[in-house]
Symmetry: C2
């Protein structure tokens, strides 16, 4: 047992490079054929494109297809360009149908044309059928290769059928047999293990326990992922609008979807437009495109705060010490607003909070408000009161900062709570209510409240050094 | 085919409640026995505790155990308290070993004592063995139930063994057979599908293709999850310090781990201490405990900014208009710092960036710097220059704000990049470098730079209205 750490392939890289330079191809072939596909992927991505093209040709055919499907699109494109039409055909042939779809989605138009040319009419029909489903729909993620049976078929015959299919289908679609009626409508499913447990003369229909869980090919991939996660499925059947079985989505495809969705929320929340999970492979230009628009937009939005400050310049001029407490008030409002928003965004993503149910939203918000009032706004007002007292020794100032803090914490929590819910109801991604957007809005609001309270309290209670203005 | 939406169970709730009130138990039993475990979980959690206790007793035994394992800890505790010792024993008996461990981890000490009492000596030994592994280690997640074979055993006999085990083991551990030597050291694995494909007289050892991928029981659960994700495994073997096979982790357990880890990063990044994925089931007190310490700490840290402002009160007094541009400068620095930090946190989490490789870090940072300089700091300086010009019409002020912007964007990106890397190297969670922490640090830095630049430029170039101070 060799301990597999996450960087396995990186450790192999120097040796493999050395062997490539020494043209020790037989030895390399031997080593590669015993490697896990993902380790080969990491090795290929660590090599120069020229080296990668040479190494790829040393892979046994079935491994080559598996490895190819997991490469970065730019390396896939480079490899395809270096292949003859015959080689392209062989790779495409071996690819699982869902990986073939993904490849066609990611390649530029001229490469796609070349790829489609090498497919058989049957395969081309299959690909076109899948590409009719919208991007990031369940239909795009599914494989049309699955094992189906009619309810009256005996366990013995179904197992035979399954073993025959096992020669051509990828392993992950073979753990479940789908029971259908004459119109290909899904009646239920029976696992391979359940088949093996049952007596060999039973009709498979009798082994179906529950009504099936399925997803429409038009549903979003995240719906499929959540269903697989919730019901602990290895595979989820996909049906068309008439309820006919058209494919299956396996748990391995969904592992990435779930993490990507959460990671997308995470990056979007940090004000990254159009986030992707891979970052370091992005070009500088791509990075700028993802980051600058938000930053520039928020900088312009910050002008609202500038405007508030500008309006109260006369007050600041009279009492510059007011400026000293702006960072703590602005900062706290932004921070607690992000906290509230991040919770709601997660709860919306996991389905814990239903945006369509006003009762549930109200209930959640009341708890939020209670938390904010008792637990956050009172103690934080205490913190700012203390620092104000230490710095100015003036009770009036203490009153101004502490009461501003109380009000803005409550407001920031309310805004942080409702903006994502509102975004969701408008059909936007709740995570686009990013922490920076929250902070920028809260800044303007905090300043407005702070100066209004300062003006009101100080002029009424005579705190102005030079008399009431 | 009934279309399964994510709220299925909520729709059933009113009818089930009605049936409970009407004491139509036979009908309920019938309905429940055909439901998916997770739907029953949602129904139970939607009922009052009294109703839940009654409904739970109507479940068939195997479904009851499965449902029980997925309930929230407080409902589990309540159910356990309502059971007789005999009933407790029956539930524990039926639970999968990994679920049994999880239950014991989550129950309070007095309940755990009662549970352990009802276990057989053999089961108690198994539980104690698993609890020796540290919290959130792979060992805690694994199930010791698995199918193993020696290399010389024939496919026919292994399949027979597997079918026998299929009566008692949970389905998810039956898709792979582990080949071991005399010392129980792992030699490799063979999938059930591969067994079915092979000729029945082959020794299973010949079907092993690659050296096995395994995880140590002491490794973190995230390592196990990443391996399963990377290598598209259905199950990952777990070995002890001597390399002996002790258990297996299945993909369904890992789906939640991966999403939770990413969600944890997300919440921690929004300055939530000790984040959990479920939020709305937390008590108000718990929420405060998770949120207040960070907020109060950051509010105190914001005093550094106050101190800077206090030091430059004389400058502000002379030129209150300087205050007008603080929000846009502070805001932009905080925003771009969070962007940089969020990227690095993701790259560290996925393993894209290796924190131990200075070369890789330097390379990544240089690209970051190039992005920040060309793509962010120049255009953002343009934005602030424009707004300054519109508001003041004074070229000197334009110089002050634009040059401050350029410097702080570069600095904020550098800090946002290096703090998470540093945290990781110190053994802390990189995501604890939250967006608010970034913003608070950047605030102080921005103010210091802004006033220094303003002082230097304005006094040198004579921009002070009342002469150089």
């Amino acid at each position: 047992w060799r301990r597999h750490v996450l960087q396995t392939a990186r450790l192999l890289l120097p040796e493999i490079r050395e062997a490539l330079r020494g043209r020790r191809f037989r030895e390399l072939k031997e080593v590669l054929s015993r490697m896990w596909p993902y380790d080969v992927v990491e090795v290929l991505e660590g090599l120069s494109p020229q080296e990668a093209v040479i190494l790829f040709r040393l892979l046994p055919k079935d491994l080559a297809a598996h490895v190819f499907s997991e490469l970065e699109p730019d390396l896939q494109e480079r490899l395809l360009l270096s292949f003859t039409d015959q080689e392209v055909h062989e790779i495409l042939e071996e690819l699982d149908p869902d990986d073939r779809t993904e490849l066609l989605e990611e390649m530029p138009a001229n490469v796609v044309r070349r790829l489609l040319k090498t497919l058989s009419p049957e395969e081309r029909r299959q690909v076109t059928a899948i590409l009719q489903y919208p991007e990031s729909s369940a239909g795009r993620l599914m494989s049309p290769e699955l094992v189906e049976a009619h309810a009256h078929e005996r366990v013995r015959d179904v197992i035979k059928k399954l073993i025959a299919k096992a020669q051509v289908f990828p392993e992950e679609v073979l753990h479940e047999v789908y029971v259908i009626d004459r119109e290909r409508r899904l009646l239920g499913s029976v696992s391979l293990v359940r088949l093996l447990r049952a007596s060999w003369d039973t009709p498979v229909g009798e082994l179906v326990e529950r009504e099936p869980i399925a997803v429409s090919a038009w549903d979003d991939q995240e719906v499929a992922a959540r269903l697989i996660q919730k019901y602990d499925l290895l595979a989820l059947p996909v049906v068309d609008r008439e309820g006919r079985l058209v494919g299956v989505i396996t748990v391995d495809d969904v592992l990435d979807v779930l993490e990507e969705e959460t990671a997308e929320d995470f990056l979007r929340f940090a004000a990254v437009a159009d986030p992707e999970d891979r970052y370091f492979s992005l070009s500088v230009r791509e990075r700028i495109r993802k980051r600058l628009p938000w930053l520039a937009g928020l900088a312009l939005l910050a002008n609202v705060s500038s405007f508030v400050l500008h309006r109260y310049e006369w007050l600041l001029e009279q009492m510059v010490v007011l400026a000293v407490f702006i960072p703590i008030l602005n900062g706290t409002a932004g921070n607690t607003g992000s906290q509230a928003a991040s919770f709601v965004i997660r709860a919306l993503a996991t389905g814990e909070l239903d945006p369509e149910s006003p009762r549930e939203i109200l209930k959640a918000w009341l708890r939020e408000l209670l938390t904010a009032f008792l637990g956050l706004s009172l103690p934080l007002a205490g913190v700012v009161a203390l620092t104000t007292w230490i710095r100015t020794g003036n009770l009036l100032f203490v009153g101004v900062t502490a009461s501003t803090m109380m009000v803005v914490v409550l407001l920031a929590n309310t805004i942080g709570f409702f903006l994502p819910v509102l975004a969701k109801r408008l059909g936007l991604d709740p995570a686009s209510i990013s922490a920076p957007l929250n902070a920028t809005l809260n800044d303007a609001l905090t300043l407005l409240l702070y100066f209004s309270i300062a003006h009101a309290l100080l002029s009424r209670l005579g705190g102005f050094p030079g008399g009431v203005p």
